[in-house]
């Protein structure tokens, strides 16, 4: 049988289970006695074992099986959780993740894991009798027997209400029991097909197990749907039967709700005598009954399709710009109305498409609890790691790039920020340090903060180092504000660690952080209070692909300046300019800022002797640095689609990309950060 069509789904699900194992193992170390937790871990491992076996990945299945044995022993309290055990389990997880990557790339799971296997077996050996060797099998059998009964499910209050309403609307409520073939591969996919088919016939009021469980394949062969429909029972039965890999379908009317009461009472009895897992399963069912079942249906879409959609939309935006231009030239009222409608609709479309690309930052944050745990062990420090706002959503291109910079900052905080427990005790602090990783929205930006309650940054030490490394000239060192001093940490070739450690302080790291974040059009700031702690704040745009920009003209050329870099625009004659040391500078509010004539800077052909030159000024900023860009004219603000310049031009500096204008021509997008680099202003003190 050809499994390749299932490979994508298998990998997605395998990764979800691996992530779940990852998360739960972290918690397990502290909450060893939580039966629900260990059950969840066991279930994930069990499912993973099953699906990898079905897909023919023997190596992965075997390793999962051995790990599952450990979880099972934990579940039955034959062994106890300890730190070394967690380490070995994580080692196993790492191997499994590696295998998943390998399967994605080469389609095989070959990897030498005998060492890890031995260590895992050592954990369970002696404490687990041979008959217990495959506990999952036994459990599977008991579970399999259960659903064979003629199950009448207990309805939640919400479902009862819905079923009653259905009757009022001349709909009939059915209980549809579907048994999948025993050898059904990827049950979740089948379940989705069944639920889609049912959705076409009526409304699904509820499912057993819950939708999330179905998606996780946490069920055996039997699925139960509560459906309200106008269709006859036979029709429903026929429709479901037409789906392949279905063993049996049973459709029963839910006649009178009172009838249910008796069957409900018999329910607990059935579950008596079964394992602990079933009990906890019931607990979660109970919990579920208290909240309305929100069946948010999801489908998995290949990312390429979304990118393709975005590309098509980008072309539409370019044509929209062209259309707007033509309409304003013609000046026909009906045409203008239509164009403005198109504009409104396409704005909504833009928001929707960009939302499709948004993913919770959780994916990145998820990796860090492990990192912090390992670092804490390595450094002999005690750290309480707090994660907040992991549900915050960001464009996936940003998310993919964010992992490394955050990792470097966390390493930095762990290594240089948080002190050793005995040092902390001496200072009267809690011996356990706190490291907080938080994400939140503000305006059109997402902020990510990494905050520790450690020693803080020593201004003098940083300055001395910066002077020594010639990053800052000695004369101007004392003029720098605290923030500017802290920011020196991001300068390249900077390292303040007294001794070079393995974790950070190799002189690389934080400067990579800043350049990465800049490449994502973001910025990073450091704040610190000596003795109290340090906070890194990363500011990122919500999306990178479509931005608002100001189009400006220089000679015959048009350039785009991202609105996020613009502080103000003005006519040149309104800007106060002065000469300091033969350099012309501009005054912007209370600041003296350097002047950059864009035409000269970009050596625009024929710019020098062109009469209309330099009528307007755009004050741009990057972080706390400002500059006055002189351009001929401001053309106007516009939504532009940012297109990369590509690999071939990756060494060309000064531009963050290009965009296609309404007339089909290409305009370059100015990267204000590089333009402002190397621009200096004469020292303030001497001159004003």
């Amino acid at each position: 049988m050809d499994m390749s069509q299932y490979l994508g789904v298998f990998l997605d699900e395998a990764r979800e289970h691996l992530q779940n194992l990852n998360d739960k193992l972290m918690i397990l170390e502290e909450n060893a006695d939580d039966p629900e937790l260990i059950n969840s871990i066991f279930r994930s491992a069990h499912t993973l074992k099953g699906s990898s076996g079905q897909m023919g990945f023997q190596n992965m299945m075997e390793l999962t099986h051995i790990m599952e044995n450990v979880f099972d022993a934990l579940r039955h309290h034959t062994i106890q959780v300890n730190s070394e055990m967690i380490d070995v389990l994580f080692e196993g997880l790492d191997h499994l993740e590696g295998m998943a990557d390998q399967i994605e790339q080469n389609g095989n799971d070959a990897s030498d894991v005998s060492d890890t296997k031995k260590k895992l077996q050592a954990i369970t050996s002696g404490k687990q009798s041979t008959q217990n060797d495959d506990p999952s099998k036994k459990q599977q059998e008991t579970k399999d027997q259960l659903p064979q009964r003629d199950q009448q499910v207990k309805l939640t209050d919400y479902e009862k209400l819905f079923a009653e309403q259905a009757a009022d609307q001349n709909l009939t409520a059915y209980e549809v029991t579907v048994d999948l073939n025993k050898d059904c591969v990827l049950k979740a996919a089948r379940a989705l097909m069944v639920s889609n088919a049912l959705e076409e016939l009526g409304t699904i009021i509820g499912t057993r197990p819950a939708t999330e469980e179905i998606e996780k394949e946490a069920f055996n062969q039997r699925l139960i749907f509560i459906v309200a429909s106008t269709s006859e029972a036979e029709q429903i039965q026929e429709t479901i039967n037409s789906i392949s890999e279905i063993a049996n379908v049973k459709v029963t009317h839910i006649h009178s709700l009172e009838d249910r009461a008796s069957s409900e009472q018999s329910q607990p009895a059935r579950e008596d005598g079964t394992s602990q897992q079933d009990k906890s399963g019931k607990q979660s069912k109970k919990a579920e009954a208290h909240r309305p079942v929100v069946v948010a249906k999801t489908i998995r879409v290949n990312l390429n399709r979304i990118d393709q959609l975005l590309n098509l939309f980008e072309e539409l935006i370019i044509d929209r710009g062209r259309l707007e231009k033509i309409a304003s030239e013609i000046g026909n009222a009906t045409l203008n109305d239509t164009v403005s409608t198109i504009k409104r609709v396409s704005n909504q479309l833009q928001e929707t498409i960009l939302n499709l690309r948004m993913e919770p930052i959780e994916q990145v944050f998820n990796r860090f609890p492990r990192l912090v745990r390992n670092l804490a062990k390595e450094l002999n420090k005690k750290v309480n790691f707090v994660v907040k706002g992991s549900e915050t959503e960001l464009d996936r291109t940003v998310i993919e790039e964010l992992g490394d910079p955050i990792m470097h900052m966390i390493r930095n905080s762990m290594d240089h920020g948080i002190e050793h427990p005995d040092v902390r005790k001496e200072k009267g602090k809690d011996p356990q340090g706190t490291l907080t990783l938080a994400a939140y929205y503000s305006g059109n930006h997402v902020f990510v903060e990494i905050e520790d309650d450690g020693a803080g940054i020593n201004r003098e030490k940083v300055l001395a180092k910066a002077v020594e490394k010639k990053i800052v000239p000695e004369e101007s060192a004392s003029e720098l504000s605290d923030k500017e001093v802290y920011h020196l940490l991001f300068a390249s070739g900077f390292s303040t660690a007294d001794k070079i450690s393995d974790i950070s302080g190799r002189g690389v790291g934080l400067d990579v952080v800043e350049s990465k974040i800049h490449s994502l059009s973001g910025s990073v700031e450091v704040d610190s209070a000596p003795g109290k702690g340090t906070k890194f704040t990363v500011k990122l745009p919500l999306t990178l692909s479509i931005i608002n920009a100001l189009l400006v003209q220089c000679g015959d050329e048009i350039y785009a300046i991202p609105i996020t870099s613009i502080a103000e625009t003005a006519l040149k004659r309104h800007v106060k300019m002065m000469n300091i040391h033969e350099q012309t500078v501009a005054q912007y509010h209370e600041q003296i800022v350097p002047i950059i004539d864009l035409g000269d800077y970009l050596s625009v052909p024929g710019y020098a002797d062109h009469e209309e030159r330099g009528h307007s000024v755009v004050i741009v900023h990057h972080g706390s640095k400002y500059a006055a860009l002189i351009v001929d004219h401001l053309i106007g603000y516009q939504d532009i689609v940012v297109k990369p310049l590509g690999n071939y031009l990756k060494n060309v500096s000064g531009f963050s990309g290009a965009t296609i204008l309404g007339d089909g021509n290409v305009a370059l997008i100015i990267d204000c950060q590089t333009v402002m680099k190397n621009q200096t202003i004469p020292s303030r003190k001497e001159n004003i």
């Binding site: 590309n311 050329e557 690999n647 071939y648 031009l649 060309v652 296609i660 089909g664 290409v666 370059l668």
Partner: protein, 156 residues
């Protein structure tokens, strides 16, 4: 039969009255020269960037890249868009001609030429006529940045 298997299709184009060729399977399309946006700060042989149906494509003046002087853009100038190494780049050439089959066995190593591109930019030469040579471009070399950085440092 064996000869057939070893033939490759190349697109022929002209520069400086010499005939050059690139393999067809590396060519995406051949475009007339439309608006090219100048790219400040780029190497001098980068003519600029152009819009190819929604993609931004750099345009390289091949003549300039081979250090044979700058191209004049005429009615006959064409941009051959090639796709190598996951990069799409437009090659500005004087004139594009037909596609032809050449036998791999007929490719000879490029001799050092006077006034022409240095042999490193050529994969080889093929005698296509009694007195005509086809110069096969080594695209990887033409589009590499290796000696480009040296060039740039000279310009600054």
């Amino acid at each position: 039969m064996a000869e057939h298997e070893n033939s490759i299709k190349v697109i022929l184009f002209e520069m400086n009255n010499e005939t050059y060729g690139v393999p067809v399977d590396q060519v995406l399309s051949i475009e007339k020269v439309d608006a090219i946006t100048r790219l400040p700060n780029a190497a001098s042989f980068v003519k600029g960037v152009m819009n190819l149906r929604g993609l931004i494509i750099p345009v390289v003046d091949v003549r300039d890249r081979l250090q044979m002087g700058k191209s004049e853009i005429t009615e006959e100038s064409r941009i051959i868009v090639v796709d190598t190494d996951e990069m799409k780049v437009g090659l500005l050439v004087d004139l594009s001609k037909e596609v032809t089959d050449i036998q791999e066995s007929s490719i000879e190593p490029a001799p050092a030429m006077v006034g022409g591109p240095s042999a490193g930019y050529l994969k080889g030469v093929v005698q296509i006529d009694e007195n005509k040579l086809l110069l096969l471009l080594n695209l990887d070399r033409v589009l590499s940045h290796e000696d480009v950085d040296d060039l740039r440092s000279l310009e600054v």
